[in-house]
Amino acid sequence: MKEQKKKGNRVLTILFAVISILWIYPIFIILFNSLKDTNSITTSDVFNLPGKGNFAGTANYVESVTGMNFLKSFWYSLVISVMSVLLILLCCSMAAWFIVRVNNWFTKLFYYLCIFSMVVPFQMVMFTLANTADRLKLNSPYSICVIYLGFGAGLAVFMFTGFCKSVPMDIEEAAMIDGCSPIGTYFRVLLPILKPTIISTAILEVMWVWNDYLLPTLVLDIKKYRTIPMAIQYFRGSYGTVDMGAMMASIMIDIIPIIILYLVCQKHIIEGVVAGAVKG
């Protein structure tokens, strides 16, 4: 019977190996096409490998970076993601600690509003939010992080409060008795304990902000600033002939950093997903 089980497992391994290859095949198709001469990318032969006649080398990537100004988009995406996520992590962990330790009607209300905000679809607030952002001059890549903090506060506060509740109050009180101010206690005691939750939350928020399309489209001025998803949509959505080669290259430039980041900190990402789901 053990023999049989072993055999069964081997069959499963082979089956899953095949499925896995098929699973990431779409990414490879885009990669192959990004290496083809742009005129030879047609609907019917996207599955052909680049051959001698149409191998374009890095031409499409050069076109994407120079012609579409893709490096600029990359920069905006990076700035927005980094600034927003750092702000969310710092402010929301502070707020969550406050909510847990100061127990009154205000903190309770704030907490339930945060949970409520997670269910609300973005379309509900898109028009009014874009307008508010415009009026308060929060419509540049360097100030949009305030909007992200506001709209993203729900999930982050929720995750942090879940964890803060499990931190024993004794540790914090010991620090206070030893003469630590609340600020000191927060930075020296609480932050180190919160580290795993901070990483999990950071990952969930980065995945959201980096890939977000509608919010920056409505808030930022599309003529001046384009994040990567905006650039790709703008590029593809405009009518007329589309430079397919540059398009494929742009997609690859968007995906490659994410995949590298994923392979490097895979363990944290998967733990982050589980933590987010268990609390959510």
Partner: protein
């Protein structure tokens, strides 16, 4: 004690987040509800019209179509994703060789954003369809719908799989051993022990897939753009389209009232679903 000391520091600890929350959520939300009762083209030209926007929603045939399509899409995608993710998770908790590699690969698509996903699959599906002599995505509502299902499965199976793996790993080995001693078949172990014990994960995953299906926007926009003739438009895209792509001064108000309705639908569905599945959770 700590609470008392902390309370004095509220401008530092809670004010920034609260202020941003008001700007980014509370105010737009309340204002949005108000505007759903108004006719407006810009925020300066607002006239109160009462319930007229809501009445007009029902005479707009695109909304009804988008609504039923979204319901169908959300349920189908939720069932497909959960079923497939659970099966994959079952296999990947058996301890077969290569488990870690498979897990890494299955999860990967989840990191790619909706817009980019849409264009990846547009390229591939159009290639396949043209090879099979079928109408392309933008020309056939049926193909577009199936395309969206395929896309969403590809994106989310990995995510749900991770949650199911965590759930299955939490099933106590004692229970499984006891079942084996009592002579349970594999099927019995699955239906009598593994599934009931992973009910919390099932609750979460159904919740996530249902709400994701309902709220799907980016993938819809980039894969089909609602073509042909708005036939593959889901609710979120329909609302966006009503707001920004239609000429006529009444549409923004109608769009906003559609959004309020959409919000209510999402809330009701999530509450009902949480009720139903969490009732099935058991204690061991």
């Amino acid at each position: 004690m700590i609470g008392k000391a902390l309370k004095k520091y509220w401008p530092l600890f809670v004010l920034p987040t609260f202020a941003a929350f008001i700007i980014g959520f509370v105010w737009p939300f309340i204002w949005g509800i108000y505007l759903s009762f108004c006719q407006f083209t810009t925020v300066k030209k607002v006239t109160f019209v009462g319930l007229s926007n809501y009445r007009q929603i029902f005479s707009d045939s695109t909304f009804g179509h988008a609504f039923w399509l979204t319901v169908l899409f959300a349920f189908l995608s939720s069932i497909l994703i959960n079923l497939l993710a659970f099966v994959v998770a079952l296999v990947l908790t058996k301890g077969i060789r290569g488990t870690n590699v498979f897990r890494t690969i299955f999860f990967m698509p989840n990191l790619i954003g909706g817009i980019v996903l849409g264009y990846i699959w547009q390229t591939i599906l159009n290639g396949l369809l043209s090879a099979w002599g079928q109408p392309l995505l933008a020309l056939s509502a049926k193909n577009g719908f199936i395309g969206m299902l395929v896309l969403l499965c590809w994106q989310q199976i990995g995510y749900m799989m991770i949650i199911y793996i965590a759930g299955l790993n939490n099933v106590s080995p004692d229970l499984l051993e006891a079942a084996a001693i009592d002579g349970c078949t594999q099927m019995q172990t699955l239906f009598r022990i593994k599934i009931p014990m992973t009910m919390p994960s099932i609750t979460i995953c159904t919740f996530l897939t249902l709400t994701n299906g309902f709220k799907m926007f980016d993938q819809n926009l980039s894969l089909t753009g609602g073509e042909p003739a708005k036939a593959t438009q889901l609710l979120a895209l329909n609302i966006y389209d009503t707001f920004y792509a239609r000429a006529g001064k009444q549409w923004k108000g109608i769009g906003q009232s559609k959004a309020v309705l959409f919000f209510l639908i999402v809330v009701v569905i999530s509450l009902v679903q949480l009720r139903i599945t969490s009732r099935k959770e058991v204690q061991a």
